[in-house]
C-alpha cells in the first residue's frame, strides 16, 4: 500500500515536471538565444549556453527600433482595453441584472461574433476603414479590436454581476436610487475585481493580435509589435538574434502578468466559458 502511494507520487511528480519543462523550454531557448553573441548564434551545431551578451538587445533597439513598435502596441492595447471594459460593464449589467428580454439570444450571438475566423469579415472591415481614411491610424485598429474583444469582456462581466446578491438593487430602490444611480454608485464600484480580470485578458488579446494589425497597419510608423516581429528581415540573413531579443521584450510583460495574476486569469477564462 505504501509502495503504491510512493509509486503514484513518483508518476505524478515526473509527469508534472515533464509538462512544466515542455511548456517552458521553447521559450527559455529563445531567451538564451537572445543573450548569445553573433558568433554563438551562427555556430553549427548550435551552442547551448549563451555568452550573456546584450548585443542583440542593443541592436534590436537601435537598428530595428523596437521601442517604436512597443509604443504602438501599448497605445492600441490600452485604448482597446479601456473602451472594451467600459462598454462591457454597461452591457454586462444590462444582460445580468435587468428584466430585459432575449438576453440569452444576445449573449449567444455575441459568442458567435467572437468565434468566426477573421477572414470572414476582413475584406469589408478593410473597406470601411479605407473609406473612412482610417487605415494606418490607431483608431483604425482599435475599433475592430474593441468589436472582437467585447464578447469576452461582456461574458466575464455578465457572469460576475450575476453572482452579486440580489438585495443590492432592492436596497438601492428602497433608498430611492434611480437605475442610473444604482449602476454608477453601487454596481460599478463593486465590479472592480471582474473589470480587472477582464482587463488582463482583453489587454493580452490586443497585445498579441496579428491578423488585423497586418492588414490595417501597412506603414511602419503605426505597426504593432507582432507585425514588427513577423516582418523582421536582415539584409541577407534572418536576424535570429534580434528577433529573439524583440520577442523577449514583447513577451516579458505578459509572462509577468501571468505569474502575478495566474489565479485571476484562470477564473476569468473559465467564467467566460463555463459559468456563463
Amino acid at each position: 500500500m505504501i509502495l503504491m502511494k510512493r509509486l503514484q507520487k513518483i508518476v505524478f511528480v515526473s509527469l508534472t515536471a515533464w509538462v512544466v519543462i515542455v511548456s517552458l523550454l521553447p521559450f527559455l531557448w529563445m531567451v538564451m538565444t537572445s543573450l548569445k553573441s553573433e558568433a554563438d548564434i551562427t555556430a553549427i551545431p548550435p551552442t547551448v549556453l549563451p555568452s550573456l551578451s546584450l548585443h542583440f538587445y542593443s541592436s534590436a533597439i537601435a537598428d530595428y527600433n523596437i521601442f517604436h513598435y512597443l509604443k504602438n502596441s501599448l497605445i492600441v492595447a490600452s485604448a482597446t482595453t479601456f473602451i472594451t471594459l467600459m462598454l462591457s460593464v454597461f452591457s454586462g449589467y444590462a444582460l445580468s441584472r435587468t428584466r430585459l428580454g432575449h438576453k440569452n439570444i444576445i449573449l449567444g450571438s455575441l459568442l458567435l461574433v467572437s468565434m468566426f475566423p477573421q477572414i470572414s469579415i476582413a475584406g469589408p472591415v478593410w473597406r470601411i476603414l479605407y473609406n473612412a481614411g482610417w487605415l494606418n491610424t490607431y483608431q483604425g485598429l482599435i475599433v475592430p479590436y474593441v468589436t472582437l474583444t467585447l464578447p469576452l469582456g461582456i461574458w466575464i462581466m455578465t457572469s460576475f454581476f450575476r453572482e452579486l446578491p440580489e438585495e443590492l438593487e432592492r436596497a438601492a430602490l428602497v433608498d430611492g436610487c434611480s437605475n442610473i444611480q444604482t449602476l454608477f454608485r453601487i454596481m460599478i464600484p463593486l465590479s472592480a475585481p471582474g473589470v480587472f480580470t477582464a482587463a488582463i485578458l482583453v489587454f493580452i488579446y490586443a497585445w498579441n493580435e496579428f491578423f488585423f494589425a497586418l492588414l490595417i497597419m501597412t506603414q511602419r510608423r503605426f505597426q504593432t509589435l507582432p507585425v514588427g516581429i513577423a516582418m523582421f528581415q536582415g539584409q541577407y540573413t534572418i536576424p535570429w538574434g534580434e528577433i529573439s531579443a524583440a520577442s523577449v521584450i514583447a513577451t516579458v510583460p505578459l509572462v509577468l502578468l501571468v505569474f502575478i495574476f495566474q489565479r485571476r486569469i484562470i477564473s476569468g477564462l473559465s467564467a467566460g466559458a463555463i459559468k456563463g
Binding site: A94, T98, N104, Q118, L183, W240, I266
Partner: protein, 298 residues
C-alpha cells in the same frame, strides 16, 4: 414620463447595450453580410477604375475548380481535427495534474500558462528557429553534432505541416486545460469519497465519475479549440508562408493572400463566405450540444 418601472428598466438596459450593438453590427454583422455581397462581384483593389461588376456565381465556379483552394480546405480540416484532438487530450491530462493539491501549485499553473500568453507571432518565430536547418534545437537534440544529418524541416511538406501542428498544440493545450480544469473543480469531493468506500479503484473512479461529469466542460473546450483552429494564420504566415508547395496553406491564409496580396476582393470574398459558412454550421452543431449548459442559471 409616466412609464412603469419595468419599462423604464428595459429602456435603460437597451440604452446600455446600444454602444456595444453599434460596434458589433458595424464591424461584425455588416461585414459578414457584405462578404456575401462582394463575393458576387468582380472587384480588384488597386484598380478602382474597374468598379465593381456583378458577376453572379462566377467566383464560386472558379472556387470549385481552384486546386489550391481545395488543398487549403483539406489542410485546414486536417489541421483542425488533429490539433483539437491532441489539445483536448493533453488538456485533460494537464487539468487532472493541476487539479491535485500540492505545494507550489500556483507556480506550476503559471508556468503552464506561459505558452498561452506568448503572442502567436512570437511563438511562431520561436518554433521557426527551433526547426531551423542549421541552428535549430530539434536538429541538435536529434542528431547532436552530426551535422550531416541535419534536416531542413520546414522545407519538406510533411514535416512542415507537422511542425505547425506541434507549435499549435504546444501553445494552446494549456488553454484547453484551463477550461477542463474549471469543469473538474465543480465535481463534489464527496462523490470520490463515496466511491472509495465502495471499493472503486482510481481507474474506475476516473471512468465513472470524472469523465461523465467533466463531459460538458470537455465539449466547451472542444468548441473553443475547433473554432480557434480554423483561424490558424500567424503560424503559417511566419513559419512557412503556406509552403512548401502549398502543403501548409490554409483557408484563412489563402483568403488573406487573394484579397490583400493579389487584391482580388471579389474572389477572395468567396473564401470568406466559405470559411464563415463552415464555422457557422459547426458552431451551431456544438451549441445545440452544449447549449443548455452555456445558458444555465439565466
Amino acid at each position: 414620463m409616466n412609464l412603469s418601472l419595468r419599462t423604464r428598466e428595459r429602456l435603460f438596459a437597451i440604452l446600455l447595450l446600444a454602444p456595444t450593438m453599434v460596434f458589433v453590427v458595424l464591424f461584425a454583422f455588416y461585414p459578414i453580410a457584405s462578404s456575401f455581397y462582394l463575393s458576387l462581384h468582380r472587384i480588384i483593389i488597386g484598380l478602382p477604375g474597374l468598379g465593381s461588376r456583378f458577376v453572379g456565381l462566377d467566383n464560386y465556379r472558379t472556387l470549385i475548380h481552384d486546386q489550391i483552394a481545395q488543398k487549403a480546405l483539406i489542410n485546414t480540416l486536417l489541421f483542425v481535427f488533429v490539433t483539437t484532438f491532441f489539445e483536448i487530450l493533453f488538456g485533460l491530462l494537464i487539468a487532472l495534474l493541476i487539479n491535485q493539491r500540492f505545494r507550489g501549485r500556483g507556480i506550476i499553473r503559471a508556468s503552464i500558462l506561459v505558452p498561452w500568453a506568448i503572442p502567436t507571432v512570437v511563438s511562431s518565430q520561436m518554433w521557426r528557429f527551433i526547426f531551423n536547418d542549421k541552428y535549430g534545437l530539434i536538429n541538435l537534440i536529434l542528431f547532436g553534432s552530426d551535422i550531416s544529418r541535419y534536416k531542413a524541416w520546414l522545407a519538406e511538406p510533411g514535416y512542415a505541416f507537422l511542425a505547425i501542428i506541434i507549435a499549435d498544440v504546444w501553445k494552446t493545450s494549456s488553454f484547453a486545460a484551463l477550461l477542463i480544469l474549471a469543469g473538474l473543480q465543480i465535481i463534489p469531493e464527496e462523490l470520490y469519497l463515496a466511491a472509495k468506500v465502495d471499493g472503486a479503484g482510481p481507474w474506475k473512479r476516473f471512468t465513472s465519475i470524472t469523465l461523465p461529469l467533466v463531459r460538458p466542460a470537455l465539449l466547451i473546450a472542444l468548441l473553443f479549440r475547433t473554432m480557434d483552429a480554423f483561424r490558424v494564420f500567424d503560424l503559417v504566415f511566419v513559419m512557412t508562408q503556406g509552403g512548401p508547395a502549398d502543403s501548409t496553406n490554409v483557408l484563412q491564409f489563402y483568403g488573406y493572400k487573394k484579397i490583400f496580396a493579389e487584391g482580388l476582393m471579389g474572389y477572395g470574398s468567396t473564401i470568406s463566405v466559405l470559411v464563415f459558412s463552415l464555422t457557422f454550421v459547426i458552431s451551431l452543431l456544438y451549441i445545440r450540444m452544449v447549449g443548455k449548459r452555456l445558458t444555465r442559471g439565466s
